[in-house]
Subunit: 142 residues, 2 copies
């Protein structure tokens, strides 16, 4: 469904949130290892997330990635928009050429409820809600 960048970002951010809850600021080496993603690629992606303001980081000894105190929860939608643009979430899921309400492809109406459900899911669920669900199920890894 999503590309690798989105996947690694999602898993990475959830891991960061999880560690923050334990009072830790994980570094990139640890994060990549734990979410089983390529280290340098994940680094590149998380650095982009920092620039975008989705997460913060601290250099130097004791540094690492973290979410600012009091920062609002991040809906998955926000992340996905940054990594994939709105193509994935809006527009016709069947990509039958240009397809919108005015010039619908033959699946436009049939797909509408699905598109809506997806949009609801990604706007309701957040990095934090996913992290919480992990904690509840006490999984060690993503």
């Amino acid at each position: 469904m999503f590309n690798k960048e989105t996947e690694y970002a999602l898993r990475g951010l959830v891991y960061i949130q999880l560690q923050n809850t334990n009072g830790r600021r994980p570094g990139i080496v640890e994060i990549a290892k734990e979410i089983e993603a390529p280290q340098f690629y994940t680094a590149k992606i998380l650095q982009r997330m920092v620039k975008l303001g989705l997460v913060s980081s601290l250099k130097g000894k004791g540094g690492g990635f973290y979410f600012e105190e009091g920062k609002k929860d991040i809906p998955l939608e926000e992340l996905i928009m940054q990594t994939e643009g709105n193509k994935t979430l809006t527009g016709c899921g069947f990509g039958l050429k240009q397809c919108d309400c005015e010039n619908p492809c033959p699946l436009h109406e049939q797909y509408a409820p699905i598109r809506e459900a997806i949009n609801k899911l990604v706007s309701t669920e957040t990095i934090q809600s996913l992290a919480k669900r992990y904690t509840l199920k006490s999984k060690t890894l993503l």
Copy 2:
């Protein structure tokens, strides 16, 4: 949602069905032009579809692509399975590492109804049902 190969195959096959209804066997040049897809790439894809038995073709003068008389309608699922494998339709839509019923990602349950709706859609809708919907709406192009 789907990759280019699936998209071109889908549009190409629907176009073929549409023309067959009019008693015509369109050639690759015409098909590519009408569905606004790259000609040689579309050719390659449709040739693969022929090999897979999803559609038939005839060489030589008066040749082109066509669906065998009495051939069963082709569910979108069948096409998608050939172009993308089962990854797109089964498994967790969020691709949070390995995710199945036994080791679910934190979105597995939330995504389940969506996955089901998608599967129902692609097994219900067929190349032919899409073509028919075009005819009803009397669209010239896909």
